[in-house]
Symmetry: D3
């Protein structure tokens, strides 16, 4: 495996109509999970990606497994749990600027993930372990699993990449801050947004935030600046990377997951970090151009076409 | 109010396609609840029906309330509970003879119904209290609420009508048998199916089952015999009522709830019991002729048209 | 033109769901008109067919014209009427045996058809004038138009073919009987169903009904006997024609219009009457095998395939 | 009742596709009625609202009643009329700036509303009688009913609120101007748009228009200025209220009805008029943010969220 | 006939969702063909238009013929070819700025069009022969057919109108340039876009391009300048025509075909060339305002409404 | 791998409506391929299955790969061919007994499969090589690939299983008969239907057919008898196996592929041949109970539930 991750993927239901969801009589289903978004992004670019999780022994679990596996992600480590259902999520698009989520995920199969589910050899054989701050918020056993995975990775010199991905609804502020910082400390690369930086270290400034991350012990800090692009720093260099322009942001959800896929893909291809971050910006932008988390993730052909179009824009 | 009932109503999602649900990408939503089916059946026939329940303070709660209220059922007693979500239900139609249900109802708002939610005056002013054996299976507080409602009804001479409506998935056999029998003992009229009779009293025989019910103290026993019609007995008479013929059973779900609506409607109209039971058969049959629990419930015009069509059939 | 007809064609809306129409939120649209059904059936079999009518100067008029013209029927005689809307029709499929229609056709453009709309030369150049008993029921001016068309046809030796097509909702019994009989008297060929025969002449017997029609002056009587096939008689012969077997009747509406198309097509091809009637049975049967009035009308290839399949069935 | 209104509500069909409606084969249905929009807006905000009207004894009447009642509006005064159908409406969205309506409402059940349908006690017990200029345009008996309702309200000191809501298609200019002015004279509060002011009094100026309204005898004039907000004046004060900003107007239809609901809601809550008008702007704006007349009407939670979001915008 | 054209029309499938087509499970079908777009535009404006082509003897051929004929275009010259299928086309809308086409048209029925299919008398009786540069790219026999049609037209003094409509996917650059120039030389009127001018004559300048076209022997050059409007020149005059403003371009495909319809319609109406070109701009703009190639083509009423709206805009 | 197969899988489009396909405007897409049906059936039952094929480098190829891989079949041997498109298939359901297929598969990517695409080691490591008579009919290179695969299998003692799966549309009778017989001769197990037996050896008799197969050198003959069940014979035994009863056959397509999956699954589980054939009957029957080729293929849980239901039926 090139990249291994662990976390929950749910079935997402979207009502056909915008406005209060009570008026919709028809819903479409997709899968939704931050970690699988990144893994699928990697698989579509030709990398080997593997997923550790639990799914219910039900039709929704079968749906999630088939969708993730169909995209080329290894699901051999996914446990089918006969005791709990697969989690669900409803996405109400109130209007063009407000979205409200309704979760049916408490006590889900994935929330029952536990350290014993993790095959040490599987992580040991990977180049990167990718984690988000969502999984430790799901349950105590999920949190233990995340920390256990980190221990395993560190023991085997697997690079740990962490995206705090703060979800305030899932846990209290104090607990969130403390756990996420602990994970920062154990990570080699951290991908953080400005608002997460503010939450964790009280600063909205890129360079200050990177400084905090470095002081925590994280070697490489990559700061996502939204429409402004990104910033990164490590022991060798510190640089701003400009954003990738899109005609119109149709659906911003999943951009961060695509960003992570792009950065990791660049690193796996042996690119200089600056180009990896630029690829992260491109993949993240591609995700926002269509509705859905994975529908916009590019394959190699689409990535090449995106980058060449952008190059043309620069020349004009 | 003519009839008051209490219980849970959920949002039901049905996949567009038959077969394993994993292959569906589109779902339609409706409401589903045994008690509201019966109350809506009564309201469509012009009776006054009232519903006691809890709904989540969410869009699904708003949907359920609007649908039930839109049909003319009084929802003034329904509590909007900010602490728990509205329950959901997915119905997988595997093939023409197998259906599988997936529930997301544990810890739902309705399962938090408690005796204090019940307004004594509201029940006292009703002619009938209608109960099913589903509600006491939802949670301890639901069970207490049901028994509390029964006490209130008995105190105020409100006729208690009970349909055991056995749901094995919701509780253990022993507990179910004991609670349902206890409710039989406190009811004036019991509407039971053959398989319920077998579960409760070990007999598949109509007259034996009615005998058991009478011995428990229930004055009127009405036995649902499916395609064979019905049987009833009380202190005055005991009779078989023939079934109402339908071209083709499209969806049997909800037939029992429609039967209850028909019987109660007949009683409210002052019909002889035999004719009330016949109306129950007709309304139950009408429900099976279309997909959905409430879509086939007749209004007065449709009921008249059904009964006259049946009369013609007899004359031929 | 081989066949010319006049009458109203409406836009038909069908709710997506069976059951009471109030529960549907989605409707599909098609066109619906007895005369255009027959004309389209003829055009699909390669005959020249022309339609005389009025349509509103609105989108529904444009839709009807494009659909009829697209099937190859000449619409050069259709008047676009700026003063009245195109008629509409809603079809509620209550269950597998009951259908209820809701019309929005009073004061429609077609109901304003008048004798002056009819181009004498257009009818004079046709081989057949095909009429149904629906058009004279729409309005006084429609009735006058029908009788005017008949006069024109008779003057120019154009064969008049008439299907009473009784619609009780549109007019009173006495008036209907009187007008339809008057049209029988002016027709060369009458295509009637058993129930129409009973309404007009008080008999359910084929041969008696044919006798009545002949006594009125109609030379050829063709009686539609539904699943039993057909019967015909003229001055030369009288015969029963067996029905065309179908696997399952999906939608009986439009069968009579297809029957007329088949009979006329056979006559236009110079077949013996027996074979024309048999073709009528085949085309009518084909219509019932799928949902919709025109979707099942066969082209030459499909007709050949139907007839050869039937021949095989006979040989077995 | 807090607010009572009378008028027609129809079933609205919208084709799935933009462009000429002839190309759509699928339509979705909703309800559409200016007065029920306002009443539903009030009910969603927790006020008691009641509707006086007629509906056909058909499925579309059942649909309208269930939808209005489901939203919590009292429909006890709605008469089911067996003699005439429920009105229909088709909405062709030609492109992003042109909409064309096709009505099938002449001779509808609602157009048969008459003074005798109005229960004096029902209006007498209300705080406000809300009227629009649409209803008097539907038929002579509708006009009489409106004036009768006004008389009843005035007799019982019920505040009369009037929105001219000019519909040029429904009646001639002279008649419209004369009747609408007559209603202005009998109203306590008038809510008018600039174009209506121009039509009635020949001025596009807010303060001049308010002056005209006051001179007619109307105590409170509230002028809707679209994207510019609103203006109001009475004997105490005269003020501009700024508009409520929205990300993008998706569907402007129904904004005025929402405005009325917001103003009345504020008054019922005992707010100063300025705040009531501001609430009117907020509710009206909310309606435009989603497709549909009622889908965007806020409940208390949504209203609070809207107002706090707006407050934040101001602080920035 | 006013205008005759020849070329291929296919069935176009569009996935329901934007983004990579692999994620769509539902597709809608329409027809797509540059020449029929123009012919339909002419027919909707009341002109006589005729189409020469081949279609497969299959359901897709029947669909194309019914759609084109339904719009009022004469299809009497269309040959049903039993040896080859009707061509198909899938349109993937990757995001708001990228579209990708997938063709299943090689060896299609239309690619088998040959000179012998062309009825000399049919073209001789027309006022205009309209050709695009797509047809000669389909196959050698198509190319011969186009040149044959041109010869016939010239022989009978039928005005030849040519739109190069360059499709790079269909043939090599050298061949395309050579054939298109040859067709320019044989045309009376050429409608060209700037990018086509660059491809053919190496200039992006309107007047230079017109000069090239005149030097080739084409009397009237009309240059399409997209959002900037158009330019035309002939022996009498040379002028810029301003563009027709639209609220928002929803789908630019088909605008050029609509432009051609507008120009030809103006000429057929005997308008001065400037006004014909302006009508071309208006019709082309109307096409872009809705999704689909023909759904936005105006009829006379819509054209009048467009032009009067534009006139109002100018006056403000 | 337990079972390896090779063949073409296409994207199948099904119109939403029954009847002539020209009337449908909406199509749904799925995958369709006899060999992948069997492989998916095996994977759903927990066996290791691998597929050898070619797909176009287009979205339809991506769709097919994701669907097959998502079900758990190994697609590591599938070649993405940049030179040819993925094949398509349209399925017109004319009525309840007639289906017509329209193929766009000539020159497809899969038809370019060649012997060099086959990795000897991949087949050598399998327990079974499963082949159908469709693949050799696609192209000469496909035929060579099939025979090459057989040679490889025989060399490595991999059991060859063959289903003639006669498709008359794809090749001539003589050629088909000769090639299929040649494959019978090289197979260890043949699964044949009665009509195939008649085509190949001129007998409709089970035992005679089995005799022919044995004389050709095939050790195990399994004859599919449709609703009558199956028959098998080898050197040890010969027996009839009764069919698996279904409520209603909804869609018979894919039943044979499911049968093969069931038989192979039984053999892989080490069952006696009789039980393997019975499992084949059960899986085949399950496929026919829902629409679609793979939607009815059971997983272990569903298979157990099917078999226990059948056992109950027997006991009654």
């Amino acid at each position: 495996m090139d990249v291994v991750s662990l976390g929950e993927t749910m079935v997402l239901f979207t009502p056909e109509k915008r406005g209060q969801m009570r008026y919709s009589r028809s819903f479409s289903s997709q899968i939704a999970g931050a970690e699988t978004n990144t893994l699928i992004g990697l698989a579509k670019l030709g990398h080997q990606a593997g997923w550790i999780s639990r799914l219910g022994n039900d039709e929704f679990g079968a749906l999630v497994r088939a969708a993730v596996r169909g995209e080329g992600v290894d699901t051999g480590q996914v446990i089918i749990d006969g005791e709990a259902p697969t989690g669900l999520l409803f996405k109400e698009r109130l209007n063009e600027r407000e979205v409200r989520m309704y979760y049916y995920r408490s006590h889900s199969a994935a929330s029952r993930l536990q350290p014993g589910d993790i095959d040490e050899a599987y992580i040991a054989a990977a180049k990167y372990l990718y984690l988000t701050g969502i999984t430790p918020a799901l349950s105590p056993s999920c949190r233990e699993s995340v920390f256990h995975a980190v221990e395993v990775a560190r023991r085997h010199k697997v690079t740990v990449v962490f995206d705090p991905n703060l979800r305030r609804k899932l846990w209290g502020e104090e607990e969130a801050r403390s756990v996420l910082k602990e994970l920062v400390r154990k990570s080699d690369i951290v991908l953080a947004g400005i608002s997460e930086g503010e939450f964790l270290y009280g600063t909205k400034d890129c360079t200050e935030l990177a400084g905090h991350l470095h002081r925590e012990g994280c070697g490489t800090a990559i700061i996502k600046r939204g429409e402004l692009g990104a910033y990164y720093s490590n022991t060798l260099e510190a640089r701003y990377v400009s954003s990738f322009k899109v005609a119109r942001v149709v659906d911003p959800v999943g951009a961060g997951d695509g960003f992570a896929a792009g950065v990791l893909s660049g690193q796996l291809d042996g690119l200089p970090l600056e180009q990896s971050v630029a690829r992260g910006c491109a993949v993240g932008a591609a995700v926002t151009m269509v509705s859905g988390d994975i529908e916009g993730l590019p394959d190699r052909r689409a990535l090449a076409s995106l980058l060449s179009a952008a190059a043309e824009d620069v020349q004009r």
